[in-house]
Symmetry: C3
Subunit: 316 residues, 3 copies
């Protein structure tokens, strides 16, 4: 798509060369063929070093653009960005793609649905009511239990177990907001990547990334009702107990243990080998590995136990 | 159905004219053809002004009945009410209804199920494994992702997106209780109405009303794992982040923002433009619009932050 | 299977007679044909009185074995136990079993799936997209709503209602851990038993037992999003409000009432007629029946209310 087409769609004018754009991405991750965007002055340094050639920006950021950039000045970059994502969103179905390729010794139930473009490894079991979307890839020896839904373009590794009712790749929860309080969808054009040896419990939901991938790394095990928001990166060999939620773009290191009903805010970075007791509420990043945490607000587990004793004494 | 038939079913006798009854409703909302009920003296004023012609009541409330009422005196009104709801409950399937009507340019997957009496607008996408119940109505340009279930009589608007695994219109959680501790189902004879431009995440559950409708109003967006109980009314352009629950009959004004793992008790009324930070536990109605709240028990966000600092100091 | 086969699979040597083993079980529940295991010295008494004939044990427990026991000394009993469960796990499908037996006057939707060996009572409704696994038994007059999944070997009673999206019998969350931090699946070889007159809301998950059964007893009603972990035993006529979770092997007595977003740790025993207000966090067993509890850490409801008032005053 030409940059000029994007400008027309946004009903705005563009400055610079009319470059060819194939997708969108965050400022720091953009390639020369991707449309980037900068909402706020705090991104001026990232803007300067971005590899993108075309940008949505506010007027005040023009001076920080790389040389030879093409750009559109937006009154509300966030809103224009949301409108632009629609241009790159994909329909759930692509009937023109070739039929799915199924490996050897698979069991695919007659009332499972596998869309075109999917590639299924060998010795895979896909049970009744499971849905495998357009272009999904599934590795060898993986079991997909009944009524699982895997949205288009997602990747599931080998030796994985996905329990019934789990949804992989639904849209992340992302909206921009008009001045009159309406919410404009940021189309979620990324995917989910589940690495090898992952087990996901019943009725979980792992959202697709807005750009790029939400990742569940090798050997991680999720209990039931786990919510993983868009663009999370869950480290290898982690354990998540039931009813836990992780906010968007939060990244956990390897071998974290998260007990039931815990939650993480968005955009955090959590050191490996961190342990969280039940109902931990994590709102800040953790840089030191190996700690044990509790409570909301979060604190060291020992400190939390001591605090609970102190609080209990208020009733004396 | 005749009032005398209801009395027979309840194994009780009735007083007054044998009026024709077509459904049940709450005291204040009843029409002349609906059976109403009054459990407690605090409803005596509502009883006096009710438009219903037939009632289930306790002995002590007879004097507050409107003139010319027909009534059944019950030892346990709540229990008799539950038993009466069974008479008005509908079977999930009605094979005698005409086939569903499907609009133009729809995609309906071969292993989606659409029951009789349903009416589907134009340019609607209904993916594999989705279930559209008896008499359900779906507006134009709406997308129903795989393995969504929409129970009978529910209404979904135009330009809606319902993500995989979500259940719309399952029975609300309502029971009356016998003296020996058993639970008697209050049949949930209402429905769910989802207005236009609503997006509902993966694996949500929006329960049908006991009478009338559970309503999600125009432009509201729900993340994953949202629980909306029977008879809630969720205002326009609201945002609900993951794993949040709303108790029965609670009403939120427009443009509320509810962060993750929050919860609302039943029968609350929440002013518009209210914001709730993560894990808010709301147990009282809010009358002033535009506030920001936190904590459980709930308080102003600033107050909560100050309190957390004070609590932290207990450990010094 | 011979005990020697198990030893080979574990790449360990065995001592004693080469007995025939048909399954595994906990120490205190094992029969003579079951493989038992003892991880820790605190089980030495249970070990002495076990009816099992074959054991996985640590070196230090040999002296506590019953007379004539066969045994395998394991460096890591927990890990060897996990590896052994794999030998007794069952495939989801058994095509060689006879077709399902369906009772009279059932409605089974054409796109419901019923696996071989299942036995369905009379007047049962099984709606589109529901999955009834191998050898599942369903009693008379039960309704299974769309997109419910019932895993193999589970038992559902009569007059039950299972709402859409609920998953019964997915694997419990159980793993042993290698020294290098990988998680080895403990295959969940038990089942779920749902007794008569149980109603389960939308999108719940009741996990199958590791050995024996997870049980939901007669007349109990679950709201939406209830998580019941493996080997729980939920007493008769209990009520669970939405988004509540119960940890593994926890046992509740009859007529407990559990309000929304509450949670129970694993291995607890809760006295009958206990009531828990919203967001209770239960980490200790309760021996006295009839109490009302709140908070996390849990306390008597009155004490909790008094404490909240005291805490609120910290801000004065």
């Amino acid at each position: 798509m030409l940059f000029s087409d994007i400008a027309s769609h946004l009903r705005l004018s563009f400055v610079g060369k009319d470059v060819e754009i194939d997708s969108m991405n965050e400022l720091s991750l953009s390639s020369p063929s991707q449309l980037a965007f900068a909402v706020h002055k705090r991104y001026s340094l990232e803007l300067k070093s971005s590899k993108a050639k075309a940008f949505l920006i506010t007027n005040s950021l023009i001076e920080h653009l790389p040389l030879d950039s093409s750009y559109i000045v937006c009154e509300d970059v966030s809103l224009s960005m949301a409108e632009a994502t629609k241009l790159f969103s994909k329909k759930p179905l692509e009937p023109q793609l070739p039929n799915a390729v199924i490996g050897q010794e698979c069991y695919i139930d007659a009332i499972a649905k596998i869309e075109n473009g999917a590639v299924i490894g060998s010795s895979v079991t896909i049970m009744a009511g499971a849905y495998i979307g357009t272009n999904v890839t599934i590795g060898d020896n993986t079991t997909i239990y009944p009524n699982v839904t895997i949205y288009r373009d997602c990747v599931v590794g080998s030796h994985c177990i996905i329990h019934a009712g789990t949804v992989i790749g639904a849209d992340g929860f992302g909206f921009s907001h008009t001045k009159t309080g309406e919410h404009v969808k940021i189309h979620q054009n990324g995917n989910v990547v589940i690495e090898d040896d992952v087990e996901i419990g019943a009725n979980c939901a792992i959202d697709r990334a807005v750009f790029n991938s939400t990742i569940i790394r090798r050997g991680t095990k999720l209990d039931n009702f786990i919510h993983i928001a868009h663009n999370c990166d869950i480290g290898e060999h982690s354990l998540f107990v039931a009813q836990t939620g992780v906010g968007g773009s939060t990244k956990l290191g390897q071998n974290c243990v998260v007990s039931g009903q815990s939650a993480f805010s968005d955009h955090l970075s959590i050191a490996p080998f961190s342990t969280f007791t039940a109902r931990s509420g994590v709102t800040k990043s953790i840089t030191q590995s190996g700690g044990v945490y509790s409570g909301f607000p979060l604190m060291n587990h020992r400190e939390w136990k001591r605090l609970q004793a102190k609080i209990g004494k208020l009733n004396d």
